[in-house]
Structures are given as C-alpha cells and as structure tokens.
C-alpha cells in the first residue's frame, strides 16, 4: 500500500505507547493529552483508509477483499474503545490500557500491508 502512511502510523503508535508507558510508570491516570494523542493517530488512520480506498480504485481489489476491509475498519476502533475503557479507570492501569491499544495498531497495519502485497498487483 502507501508505505509512508503505514510507517508514519507505526512510528507514532510506538511513540504514543512509550509515552503512555512512561506516564504509567509515573503513576499518572489517562488525561486530556492522551486523548489528543489518540486523535492524531486516528487522523493518520483515516488518511490510511482514504489512501486504501483510492488505491483499490486504481490498482484493483486485493485477493482477500473482505478481510482487508475488516482490518481497515477494525484498526479505526481499537483506540477509541481503548480510551473508553482506559478513561474510566482512575489509576495507572488505565494508562497501561492505552499502551496496549497503541501496540495493537502496528500489528493490524502490518497485516494490512501483507494482505495488500499478497495481491501482487
């Protein structure tokens, strides 16, 4: 797919996870900056969605089209659900939930790349 977008998402997610891990180590609960940071990641994920849609029109559908679409959509809801679950927890473990959610996204993005590459267009 468009690799610069994927790499940007992965780098930002790792940075977000590291930052949240640091915050959890300092015994901080999830706060507004974490919500804003998640918004940045979500923005990049929407860009990825648009790029993927455009590229499917240009290059054709990947072989595993349904799986590809499922991954594109699931990756969008991971962090909002993580935030929802994290913000209600008034301890460092809420922040740890964000670390976990942020680390799931790179895995899904890599799977998306794999599915796209497997098409061989």
């Amino acid at each position: 797919m468009l690799e610069p977008v994927s790499y940007a998402i992965i780098v930002v997610c790792f940075a977000y996870a590291a930052w949240s891990l640091f915050a959890a180590a300092l015994n901080q609960i999830p706060r507004e900056p974490h919500v804003i940071g998640a918004g940045v990641i979500e923005l990049l994920l929407v860009v990825q969605l648009v790029v993927a849609i455009v590229m499917m029109f240009v290059d054709g559908r990947p072989d595993e089209f349904a799986v590809f679409i499922a991954y594109l959509l699931v990756v969008l809801i991971v962090l909002p659900l993580g935030l929802f679950w994290a913000l209600a927890e008034k301890s460092r473990w809420g922040t740890m939930v964000l670390v976990f959610a942020a680390l799931v996204i790179p895995v899904l993005v890599l799977r998306l790349e794999q599915i796209w590459e497997a098409t061989g267009v």
């Binding site: 799986v67 499922a70 699931v74 659900l81 993580g82 679950w85 994290a86 927890e89 008034k90 301890s91 473990w93 809420g94 740890m96 939930v97 976990f100 959610a101 799931v104």
Partner: protein
C-alpha cells in the same frame, strides 16, 4: 491497591473487582483475543469449513471461551468471578492441549488455530494470558479476605 481515594468507601464487603487495577489491562487483552478468535473462526468456518472441520470448530470453541472470559472479567461480582475462573481454566487446558498436539505432531492439523503451537502465531500471548488471568484471580481472592 493501597492508594487512597481510589475505591469509594463502602460499608458492605465489596465483591471481587476483576475489572479494575491490573484487571483493566487484562480485560482489554482478553477483548482483543475475543475479537481476533471470533473473526478468525468465522472466516475459517464461512469460507473453507470442509478443509479442516475439527480445527475450525476448535477455533470457534476458543472464540467462545475468550468471549465468556472477557465478559466475566469485565463484570464485578462473585458469580462473574467463578465464571471467569472456569473460562480461564478451560482456556489454560485448551492452549496446553492444542499446543502440545500441534507442536509434537500427534495428529495433522491442516490449519492453525489461536492455540496451535501454544499461540506461536500470536506471540505466545495465548499461552501467557491464562497464566496471568489465573494469577490475577488468585490474588483477588487473597486480598478479598
């Protein structure tokens, strides 16, 4: 645990709260595996069930176990505690059995499940998860006294 002001003061003994503290992260991980295992099983059964019915049914079974464990852990209360314990116990037995069967080649497993090779395809998290889950439930039981 001992941080002040986290739990609201309550006169009656609180039921085991499996969904706060470290349990918060545990529920998140379980939820992810519930989604992953369910989608994987649905995909396998929906597109190629005849290739390997038994592994795909095991995939579906694993999915159900993860869903039950997620919900039971996410809800406070005694009943949920025991449901969670049963589900995670079954999960532990499942990942050890399926892991051993696939790793030592007792029978042919044409396609992987979440538990194949002790969850190798998922960074061995399926093997670690029930251990953490059982430790978490055991710790709650100790602190509840």
């Amino acid at each position: 645990m001992s941080e002040p002001g986290i739990q609201p003061a309550s006169a009656e003994p609180s039921p085991p709260a499996t969904n706060t503290g470290p349990g918060r992260v545990l529920v998140a991980v379980y939820a992810l595996f519930a989604v992953a295992a369910t989608s994987r099983a649905a995909y396998q059964i929906g597109t190629k069930f005849d290739d390997a019915p038994v592994p795909y049914l095991l995939s579906a079974f694993a999915a159900v176990v993860y869903i039950v464990a997620t919900i039971a852990l996410a809800r406070p209360g005694r009943t949920s505690y025991w449901v969670a314990l049963a589900a995670i116990g079954i999960e532990m037995a499942g990942v050890l059995t399926i892991g051993a069967v696939t790793a030592f080649g007792v029978t042919d497993f044409p396609d992987d499940t979440v538990w194949s090779w002790f969850g190798r395809g998922y960074l061995f998290i399926p093997l670690v998860l029930p251990i953490l889950g059982l430790l978490w439930l055991r710790r709650l039981r100790v602190t509840a006294r």
